[in-house]
């Protein structure tokens, strides 16, 4: 849920990177961190295990600057993808304004992609939200894998009616990182502009 702080002339949005374990959610945030000027980003927070798997969340605040006298700020979060961390995923979704769903192109992760999207729907329902109202895009990551499942096959599983903006990516090389982030942000801003 976006926040307007009139006293500080700030508008804040919360964007969450969601998806199965090891699909590249943290990599997306790290790439964004590396590709924006240091003056426009805050400290990145990682709460991970000794094996560098996300335990609770990653967090990156971005400052887009002033428009119409208001400073727009984005708070980017990832969730832990591993199945048993669902309680943490649910907490991070509280008040979300938009979701980048990061799918994995590995052949053995097709089911995990589908289960993660279903889990996203269920967790949003616990806040009386649904993917019909929360803007989201799909990033199909790891397109550089030697036996990557065709994007169309993954799309058939996640979005068979082709209603959701979908992007191929190799997040580790920053390919396809900016485009879904931009598309989602635009959807979030447009939705916000219709409601204030």
């Amino acid at each position: 849920m976006s926040t307007i702080n009139a006293a500080k002339r700030e508008i804040n949005f919360k964007i969450v990177y969601y998806g199965p374990g090891l699909s590249g959610k943290t990599t997306n945030l790290k790439q964004i961190y590396e590709h924006v000027p240091s003056s426009s980003r805050g400290d990145m927070v990682n709460i991970d295990t000794e094996q560098e798997r996300t335990l609770f969340f990653d967090f990156l605040p971005l400052d887009l600057g002033l428009v119409n006298g208001f400073k727009t700020r984005l708070h980017l979060y990832t969730v832990p993808g591993q199945v048993f961390y669902n309680a943490s995923r649910k907490l991070i979704l509280r008040g979300v304004d938009g979701v980048v769903f990061v799918a994995d192109s590995a052949p053995n992760r097709l089911r995990a992609n589908a289960e993660s999207l279903r889990n996203l729907r269920e967790n949003l329902e616990s806040y009386n939200m649904s993917l019909k109202e929360v803007p989201y895009v799909i990033q199909i990551n790891k397109r550089d894998l030697p036996h990557a499942v065709p994007s169309e096959t993954i799309r058939q599983v996640l979005d068979p009616k082709h209603r959701i903006p979908t992007f191929d990516a190799v997040a580790s090389e920053f390919k396809g990182v900016f485009e879904p982030f931009r598309a989602l942000s635009q959807m979030v801003f447009e939705k916000f502009a219709q409601t204030v």
Binding site: I4, A7, S40, L64, D97, E179
Partner: protein
């Protein structure tokens, strides 16, 4: 999508005053009101205190820690844990529930005592709650043009790679 908080400037001034009083009386370093999404609504620092670490990171960690504690309470059959304490050798954080949307967190060191912080935080919450209950929606001129310009700012941030 609904905008969660519309903080009027006059309310912000009063919040500032209440947080300053809390800091002065408790000898705490920092006090902040943040929403449950992790956004800082108001932050105050004692004049003598070192500059704070990243306030966004601080708020994000405080709110998520509180959220985890709240989930634990529910798991154990409690409606919530109304307060949360993290205490280290030199620094401690005390966080208390204001309402469904907001938390008050106070960071203090050896100059403040937990008992005093709890008492004064509780009093501060009693004083600021009526201010926060009376927030009325504000109207803003943030239309499609704003949305387009903000997206352009995002492009600029990434040096327009498209």
């Amino acid at each position: 999508m609904k905008a969660a908080l519309n903080v009027h400037e006059d309310v912000a001034e009063q919040l500032e005053q209440h947080l300053q009083n809390l800091l002065k009386k408790s000898r705490a370093r920092y006090a902040m009101i943040c929403d449950r999404q992790g956004f800082v609504m108001h932050f105050n620092s004692a004049l003598w205190a070192d500059p704070p670490p990243s306030i966004d990171a601080l708020a994000s960690l405080i709110v998520s820690t509180y959220a985890a504690s709240d989930a634990l309470a529910k798991l154990l059959g409690e409606a919530n844990f109304s307060e949360s304490i993290q205490q280290g050798k030199h620094i401690a954080a005390y966080t208390e529930y204001i309402n469904e949307e907001l938390l008050l967190s106070t960071i203090f060191d050896g100059q403040g005592s937990l008992g005093q912080i709890k008492l004064l935080s509780h009093r501060t919450i009693k004083r600021i709650t009526p201010l926060l209950e009376n927030l009325k929606p504000l109207r803003f001129n943030l239309d499609k043009e704003w949305s387009q310009l903000t997206t352009l700012m995002l492009d600029h941030l990434f040096k327009d790679p498209q």
